[in-house]
Amino acid sequence: MGLKIEIMGTALLAQPDCEIDHHSAERLRAQIDAAFEKSSCRHIILDFSKISFMDSSGIGMVIGRYKNAEKRGGRLYITGMNGDMGRLYNISGLAKIITRTDTVEDALEAITNRRD
């Protein structure tokens, strides 16, 4: 399981490179949470451009990180989702609570344009 984590201003950028299922979600969650807690970031950007597969364990993982960002008054952004993941994003209702952008740059721009 690959995971790149980078701090970009007030946002923590996490770029996993694996299939997201129950097994990998547990490890992603642990590593992202550890980095987020250590940082003073408010927002989390999950870059899914290298994800070829995700199931409902991934949805749970995303919602959990969304809640962590919310606790710091921040938001969660998902970028680079492929078509399959887009279907899951809609079925799950994630679409209602989580902002989806095409690229990491778009997510960073959305964060800069926030008014709070």
Partner: protein
């Protein structure tokens, strides 16, 4: 008609094996990329449930097809489900603390043609997933 039975230890690392196994099994039917993705996701949901909720030592997966209809049976001999109808509702989960979203059955239902659940407390669970592949030109 073709059939394969896989018995695996109930371990998180075997969930990806189950996805690879079903993908390989149906490949001779030349499914579309979308069909493969739907079936892989549904299998991942079923096997994950058996591993995390069932709690038995083994999960078995019977894969078969007749013409272009694929039938996948995922069975465990674990704790079983009390109220199947409630369990199938979107967002219903008994493991909220584990960050489960209660969407596994909803995903299986939206990605497959039919989802049958047989279960009783203490008697394990069998989920049968069916999908007929489109004819390819």
């Amino acid at each position: 008609m073709n059939k394969i039975c896989v018995k695996m230890e109930s371990l998180p690392e075997n969930i990806s094996f189950a996805r690879v196994a079903v993908t390989a099994f149906i490949s001779s039917l030349d499914p579309s990329v979308d069909e493969v993705s739907d079936i892989k996701t549904a299998v991942s949901e079923g096997v994950t449930n058996a591993v995390i909720h069932g709690g038995a030592d083994y999960v078995s997966m019977n894969l078969s097809y007749l013409d272009r209809t694929i039938i996948i049976e995922i069975a465990d001999t674990g704790v079983g489900i009390e109220d199947i109808e409630a369990a199938r509702q979107p967002l219903f989960t008994t493991k909220e603390d584990m960050e489960r979203s209660g969407l596994g059955f909803t995903v299986m239902e939206s990605f497959m043609d039919d989802v049958k659940v047989e279960s009783a407390p203490g008697e394990g669970t069998t989920v049968t997933l069916t999908k007929t592949l489109k004819n390819r030109e």
